[in-house]
């Protein structure tokens, strides 16, 4: 019954993002159950070469133009709308990323099909597509059914295996034209993160502080501990937003992705947007006063304790170990 499935390819500055393969994997799974073809939509400036990596798709729909370097919703949405009609696509998969933010909503409004956000599970059940979304910072799940398989779905990064969407095949490429228009949102330039202070992606030990650290003065305690451990301090978003640490120290969806040997999470709840940036750490130890904090699902070791108390005691304990 279902026909086309469109996957909007994500890449940033010439690098393919893993979410692309995760989405292609989901597309393949749905196509296997319901039939239909998977089309990868590749938009950007100088991106044609990336098409060879999209072999998991049945075809690549390519628009490679300078004006598409970082295009806004007003350019991408009409294009996706046109492609949905052309390919009789009933399902569109988008990345749940900052880059694709808002696209799904606008496309759904135009095509009059539902939009489902934060999707981290998908299965075909009796002919319907059942999607599981994660709400309230990961504390609640909700299932919705797309009875006729029609919808726009935003796929949560890291929720599906990327391997399922990789292939060595060379897909056929079809060029598509961008509908004309004079955009009111114009991309000017990228601004790189300033890591002249400390590059947290290169540290093997990170002491990460969240809202549980409570105030700016306590940051220096975490810094002392980090020094003792031979690492640096990083943080969740609220700490950065409060101005307690610079933007270059933020870990997560909008911040850095890190994979240190040790990630010591102090007073961090473990919201999905945070975990996205740190779940690859080799050893995750979390201290949180809330025994039900989601961070304990990604941590290897945890303790229900006041992080301010632990900081001091741990510093002493580490110093003692070192002098032994």
């Amino acid at each position: 019954m279902s026909t086309g499935i469109l996957v909007l390819v994500e890449h940033l500055k010439g690098t393919m993002a893993d979410i692309t393969f995760e989405m292609l994997g989901v597309g393949r799974k749905v196509a296997a159950a319901q039939g239909g073809q998977v089309h990868a939509v590749l938009l950007g400036k100088n991106v044609a070469a990336l098409a060879t990596r999209l072999g998991a798709a049945d075809s690549v729909l390519l628009a490679d133009e300078p004006s598409l370097e970082q295009s806004s919703a007003e350019v991408i949405v009409p294009l996706l709308q046109q492609l949905m009609a052309q390919k009789q696509a009933s399902l569109v998969l988008l990345g749940g990323t900052n880059a694709s933010f808002g696209l799904g909503v606008q496309l759904s409004a135009r095509m009059k099909v539902p939009f489902v956000n934060f999707c981290k599970g998908a299965r075909v059940e009796g002919g319907s597509l059942v999607l599981t979304s994660q709400l309230f910072s990961g504390k609640i799940l909700s299932d919705v059914k797309l009875a006729d398989g029609k919808g726009i779905v935003s796929i949560y990064p890291g929720a599906f295996p990327a391997e399922a969407g990789r292939s060595d095949k060379t897909p056929p490429v079809e060029k598509v034209a961008v509908p004309p228009g004079s955009p009111k949102v114009v991309f000017k330039r990228y601004i790189e993160p300033d890591t002249s202070d400390v590059d947290i992606t290169k540290q093997s030990v990170l002491v990460a502080v969240g809202r549980g650290i409570q105030n700016a003065d306590n940051i220096s305690l975490a810094e002392d501990l980090a020094k003792t451990l031979g690492g640096a301090v990083c943080a969740s978003r609220p700490v950065i937003d409060q101005g307690w640490l610079p933007l270059s120290r933020q870990v997560g969806k909008s911040g850095m992705s890190v994979a240190p040997k040790l990630y010591l999470a102090l007073g961090i709840s473990g919201a999905p947007e945070h975990c996205e940036g740190m779940k690859g750490a080799q050893l995750i130890v979390a201290i949180n006063t809330d025994p039900k904090a989601p961070i304990f699902d990604v941590a290897h070791y945890g303790a229900n304790a006041d992080c301010l108390e632990i900081i001091e005691l741990l510093k002493e304990a580490v110093e003692k170990k070192k002098t032994k």
Binding site: K13, K139, I140, D241, N304, I310, L314, K321
Partner: protein, 258 residues
């Protein structure tokens, strides 16, 4: 500038969340509400823009628990007008909510002038169907950018920074009027003493704008709502804080980290 900020109350996730007996919604009995984090930043960004470029800040909200507190807090911080639309936020889906705001803005209530910036938060945590900001852009045929962390007026337009991943940001020039989903303000949201909020509660008024909910905009039907199975991956270290610290130090030593 005509700055319009949308404020939404969301359940405080510091409290335990439970599913109601219908298995399709949150149990509202013990829910505590707070202002959605990004909205606090949207308000701050609006106040900063008013200080820099002049103008008026209007805050608008649908009815929700404790929403009056949030509206008075905004007035105390420097908003010029607070408007409440007396329709229950909880009973409306995202699409209906966006349509109501669109109606409000298209009517005399909000009014979109050539120097209007509509500033919702970039996203709320309770949202199955996505972002009001993008729907509003669509419904009002206005340009939209989301995940914005800085807005500067330049020659009748605004230059905004949008966050990507890896700490990378993109600079965009946006023609006004426009809708910007604010993720964080350039400065931490200002603090306002409780005494000042109390004073404003006595002296200022919240306006009401009667907007009928749209009939056709149905929310997605939730089949089932449930708590995630706790993966329980972490091995929990028990004991006094001293014991815990010593255990962690040993773990690090065993792994050659220290």
């Amino acid at each position: 500038m005509n700055l319009i900020v949308l404020l939404k109350m969301v359940p405080d996730t510091v409290e335990e969340l439970n599913v109601a007996s219908d298995g399709k919604s949150l149990d509202s009995e013990y829910l505590r509400f707070k202002l959605n984090d990004p909205d606090e930043h949207a308000l701050e960004e609006a106040l900063l823009l008013k200080e820099r470029a002049g103008g008026k800040v209007t805050v608008v909200a649908l009815d929700a628990p404790e929403v009056d507190d949030a509206l008075f807090m905004a007035l105390a911080k420097g908003a010029d007008r607070a408007v409440k639309i007396p329709a229950d936020q909880a009973s409306l889906g995202t699409v209906a909510t966006a349509r109501m705001f669109a109606t409000f803005l298209a009517s005399g209530g909000g009014q979109i002038t050539p120097d209007t910036l509509v500033l919702p938060g970039s996203q709320a945590i309770d949202d199955l169907e996505g972002e009001v900001a993008a729907y509003l852009g669509e419904a009002l045929s206005l340009p939209y950018v989301g995940v914005v962390s800085s807005v500067s007026p330049v020659n009748g337009k605004v230059v905004v920074l949008k966050e990507f991943s890896g700490g990378m940001r993109g600079e965009f020039e946006v023609t006004l009027p426009a809708v910007l989903g604010i993720q964080s303000a350039e400065k931490p949201p200002r603090y306002v003493p409780v005494a000042k909020v109390r004073a404003v509660m006595k002296s200022a008024k919240i306006e009401t704008a009667d907007i009928a909910p749209p009939e056709s905009a149905k929310a997605l039907a939730v089949e089932r709502m449930y708590k995630p199975e706790v993966a329980g991956r972490a091995q929990i270290l028990e004991g006094t804080p001293e014991d815990i610290a010593v255990r962690i130090a040993s773990l690090l030593a065993e792994r050659g980290i220290i």
